[in-house]
């Protein structure tokens, strides 16, 4: 087990390095660079740029050099100083930009994830145990509806419905009050109110997958030999379901958690833009659109690292959860 983990960690480094090269290369692939989009945006507002101004801007940002030199400088700064570079758009160190949004991103995504699992586990269980009942069909139907409807459309509809019914479109996570005074206990109600739409929109599409997975796995488990034996021996139904079947059924769910660690970092992008949530997803999107190299590169690099770590962690959790894996390792 220990060797296994060690080997995985060693594989880490070349994977991440390769990933960073590819990511950096692709980011700067579209024609033009950050300066092109910056100049066009400011010119539209009436600012005048002469070609010397533009050349000077390029030099200032180091964009006049080829991409591999920019990459080396960037990597060198990361490894020797831990300096991830400056974001052109925000004019701040990249890490400051990320850190200013990270707490909110993690909080919101965590809440949504918890909601997803809290809701879908019991429903999946119920669906499996009462297969083909009315309840099963209703939940499946709603789940598929949630999965099929585009998230952003649902978000827009809900915001407009909220405006029509209550006069408050619930845009963003914070009402103006919270923005002015900060999040306090008195404001918490407003914050929770604003969370309704994101949870409904993002949560419902995720729950469907989990429900169906658990349902399928449980149905698989319940028909096994050992369940029959346990029932015959007089073990209570609850023990059979929760102690034995559910544990086996959780297998794919735990594997799925690997990807969720990285999505925790950026949050869902399109829905976030539509609902005006200031999380990292829209930041990454803007950075990619305008070729804000270091910001986009750092976010993607971090996401990549988190995916790798997440995979490793979920493998470990799986091994702990499922003794069959441990025995298989030992015997081979």
């Amino acid at each position: 087990m220990r060797d296994y983990i060690l080997k995985r960690i060693l594989m880490f480094i070349p994977t991440v390095l390769l990933m960073s090269v590819i990511v950096f290369f692709i980011i700067q692939l579209p024609p033009g660079d950050y300066i092109t989009s910056y100049v066009s945006r400011m010119s539209a507002e009436g600012e005048v740029f002469t070609s010397e101004d533009i050349a000077r801007l390029r030099e200032q940002y180091g964009l006049d050099k080829p991409w591999y030199i920019q990459y080396f400088k960037w990597m060198k700064n990361i490894i020797t100083e831990g300096d991830f570079g400056y974001s052109f758009a925000y004019n701040r160190p990249v890490w400051t930009v990320i850190m200013s949004r990270l707490p909110l991103t993690v909080t919101v995504t965590l809440i949504i994830m918890i909601f997803t699992y809290l809701v879908s586990l019991p429903i999946g269980l119920y669906s499996a145990l009462h297969q083909y009942s009315v309840g099963d069909f209703i939940f499946t139907g709603i789940g598929f509806l949630g999965l099929a409807t585009p998230n952003f459309l649902l978000a827009i509809i809900l915001m407009f419905a909220s405006f029509k019914l209550t006069g408050d479109p619930l845009i963003g996570l914070f009402s103006e009050e919270i923005l002015r005074e900060g999040l306090k206990l008195s404001n918490l109600g407003s914050f929770l109110k604003h969370l309704i739409i994101p949870i409904v929109v993002i949560g419902t599409s995720n729950t469907c997958g989990v429900i169906r997975t658990i349902r399928a796995q449980m149905l698989d488990e319940i028909t096994r030999q050992y369940v029959l034996t346990a029932r015959a021996k007089g073990v209570s139904e609850n023990t059979i379901i929760y102690k034995y079947c559910l544990r086996a059924a959780l297998n794919p769910v735990v594997s799925g958690l690997a990807g969720s660690l990285s999505s925790l970092f950026s949050g869902s992008t399109i829905s976030a833009i539509v609902m005006n949530m200031a999380i990292l997803g829209p930041v990454l999107y803007e950075a990619l659109k305008t070729q804000d190299m270091y910001l986009a590169g750092t976010i993607l690099l971090t996401q990549g690292i988190l995916v790798v770590i997440g995979t490793l962690l979920s493998d470990i959790v799986l091994a702990w959860l499922d003794p069959r894996i441990r025995y298989a390792e030992r015997s081979s």
Binding site: P31, S43, E47, V48, P93, Y132, F137, T140, P169
Partner: protein
């Protein structure tokens, strides 16, 4: 039996799912689809009432004899001993500026806007801007930060008078030293990343360029000297230079020249910038974003909140206690306590926030008119229309690249008969009805009524719908009808007109219509929207062909002051393509113009060397006549006025004005004079 029920239930669920899916895809069309209501409740036919010449308002004055009063929260600070009294904060009563306004206001309340973060820095920059001289609605300039000026006979020496006792927002005095510091320590050494502005340069009759010389006469007077006559210096300063001053005492603490390279870099890192160069740019040019940087603006960045960031979710600008203007009763302006900006990531969210009454002033699209009218009562807002200076509606402007790389196409585009054919091939009445729901009328691309150079002939030139004549013209250009029903070049190669635009332009509808008309007269067209930055790159590298709804449409308030979109001065507008490069590089790069385009460039050189304003106007009219003759920019529909929604309770907001860069967009409304009743 049971399986049948189950089967029916499953079919029902699937049907519901499918219907949702179909309805979903129909709804996600382009966001600004004009809502075609069966009976559009248009409040009025806007185009008749809006002119390009707004009602003139009386000038502001200098000198006041009233007793000065201030806002209640400032008074509280004075009483607590934290702020000097209002008489000490304002300039001398003899020099103070008295703003003109419709009605005298009262203090209080805040304005709320939505913004997209630091990208919108010009939005909140323009409404708080205080230049040395500013534009009036009739296009002339009036004193603002400066009290007045004198100019000698041949316009080579300007004497500018400042206001005694005027102070920066941190209480330090504002003097002519600050003006000279800005010019000599910031503009000329280019510490904020911009090459010296054109307004400080002048060309003499031989074509030699020289720069201005600033000279201090005393603390509140300075002279600007030129080697050759520069009659429109102050107008150019008002639009090109805008402000001409900087707080010397603040910059002496951060510029590398005064504290050394190393110290400057350290200071930069403290402020959060990558190095002294970035700091120079952000604090020198976009200075209104920087907390703590003294300005003369009515509102300054609120410093008492640690998260107040110009790119944050919520940005606040608060009243400047040293603001140097009063109203006729002696009340220190501005009336409004704060400006608040809420960040949004999508224009639809601005619309929602307007509907629920949060946003106080915003420009909106006619496409959203119906929704806005429906919610007027609930949101508590009303409409105001300001004239636009665009030569034609944005999505109805077609720029044919006069320097397109394909030689045959270049000859074709440069041929006025071809442009005429494209212009008369379109039924403008039908086009305008469809595209604008009847709000606007078909027209040629020409200056707005009341603007310089407007003639009715120009507005109607080549606007008749005559596909037969179009075909004759095409043939006279040397095109030959091919077997597929489309015209080809004389040597047999296919002729395809490639229309490009950028994806956010919402030009899909107009492109589709134009393609239909062009196809009917035998021109094969393709249409390709690309991302804005891609289009910019194409324009820069002269790879564009025919651009619809260009990023830089043809629009000028004054061709003398802001010629960039209708005269090739640099690489900017799509229609003149690489000629802009040629002019900007003095012939080293780009494509040399021929014929009338060359004449246009020569006239512009003459314009810059002109000795007085009358001469400039004469040359400008000649340049516009060339445009009228050639119709380089083809337009199909008039530019709609700018539609603005504003809270009903806001007073002193001009009903009639022009939305353009010279007037600083919303800036001409003089936000410091607005108040809530």
């Amino acid at each position: 039996m049971k399986s049948r029920v189950i089967a029916l239930l499953m079919i029902a669920v699937m049907l519901v799912g499918m219907l949702t899916g179909c309805a979903g895809t129909a709804g996600t069309g382009s966001q600004t689809q004009p809502t075609k209501a069966p009976e559009p409740t248009k409040a009025s036919q806007p185009t008749e009432a809006v002119k390009a010449t707004p009602t003139t308002i009386p000038d502001s004055k200098t000198g006041s004899t009233s007793k000065f009063t201030e806002a209640p929260d400032l008074k509280a600070l004075v009483d607590a001993g934290k702020l000097p009294s209002v008489e000490k904060r304002l300039p001398d009563p003899g020099d103070i500026m008295v703003e003109y306004m419709d009605s005298v206001g009262k203090y209080g309340e805040a304005f709320t806007f939505t913004y997209s973060g630091k990208n919108a820095q010009w939005f909140y920059g323009k409404i708080t801007e205080e230049p040395l001289f500013r534009f009036k609605t009739d296009g002339t300039i009036e004193p603002n930060v400066a009290k007045g000026f004198d100019v000698n006979e041949d316009a080579t020496v300007y004497t500018v008078y400042l206001r005694k006792g005027m102070k920066w927002s941190d209480g330090m005095p504002f003097t002519a030293d600050d003006v000279l510091f800005f010019y000599y320590e910031m503009c000329i050494p280019e510490t904020f990343g911009k090459s010296l502005w054109d307004c400080f340069k002048v060309k003499d009759a031989q074509g030699n360029e020289s720069i201005a010389e600033f000279e201090k006469v005393d603390d509140y007077t300075f002279k600007v000297k030129f080697q050759a006559p520069k009659p429109t210096f102050l107008e150019e300063l008002a639009i090109n230079g805008k402000w001409c001053f900087a707080p010397a005492h603040w910059y002496k603490q951060i510029l590398p020249k005064f504290i050394g390279e190393e110290e400057a870099n350290k200071k930069a890192k403290e402020m959060g910038y990558s190095d002294a160069v970035a700091m120079g740019k952000e604090t020198g040019y976009y200075y209104w974003n920087v907390p703590g940087r003294p300005t003369l603006r009515p509102w300054i960045v609120f410093e008492n909140s640690p998260n107040n960031d110009c790119d944050g979710d919520y940005f606040v600008m608060e009243r400047n206690p040293y603001y140097w203007k009063v109203d006729e009763k002696g009340q220190q302006l501005p009336y409004i306590d704060e400006l608040r900006f809420i960040k949004v990531s999508d224009p639809q969210q601005t619309l929602l926030k307007i509907l629920d009454g949060t946003v106080d002033v915003a420009a909106v699209a006619y496409a959203d008119y119906d929704v806005l009218v429906e919610n007027m009562e609930r949101g508590g807002y009303e409409f105001v229309e300001w004239a636009s200076v665009s030569w034609a509606d944005l999505v109805s402007q077609l720029h044919l690249n006069q320097t397109v790389k394909d030689e045959k196409k270049r000859a074709l585009f440069q041929n006025p008969d071809f442009r005429q054919a494209l212009s008369i091939a379109v039924d403008r009445e039908e086009y305008a009805e469809i595209i604008s729901d009847g709000f606007a009328q078909g027209r040629q691309a020409a200056p707005a009524k009341g603007a310089m150079g407007y003639t009715e002939e120009w507005a109607n030139k080549w606007t008749e719908y005559n596909p037969e004549k179009a075909k004759q013209l095409l043939e006279s250009c040397g095109l030959v009808m091919g077997a597929d029903g489309y015209y080809d070049f004389a040597d047999g190669t296919d002729f395809v007109l490639n229309i490009q635009t950028f994806t956010d332009a919402n030009a899909d509808d107009s492109a589709e219509l134009l393609m239909k008309y062009f196809g009917e007269v035998g021109i094969k067209t393709t249409y390709k929207p690309v991302d804005r930055s891609v289009l910019d790159n194409m324009t820069t590298s002269n790879d564009h062909e025919a651009v619809l709804a260009p990023v830089t449409p043809a629009t000028t308030f004054s061709i003398i002051l802001r010629p960039d979109t209708v005269v090739p001065v640099r690489n900017y507008a799509p229609w003149y393509g690489a000629v802009g490069n040629w002019v900007a590089s003095n012939g080293k790069e780009g494509v040399e113009p021929t014929g009338d385009l060359k004449k246009l460039c020569e006239l512009y050189d003459q314009l810059r060397a002109a000795v007085n304003a009358k001469e400039k106007e004469k040359i400008a009219l000649e340049m516009l006549k060339l445009h009228e003759k050639n119709i380089w920019v083809i337009g199909y529909m008039e530019a709609l006025p700018t539609l603005i929604v504003k809270d009903k309770k806001i007073k002193n907001f001009p009903e009639n004005s022009i939305f353009c860069d010279e007037f600083r967009d919303f800036g001409i409304a003089h936000f410091q004079c607005l108040y809530y009743e």
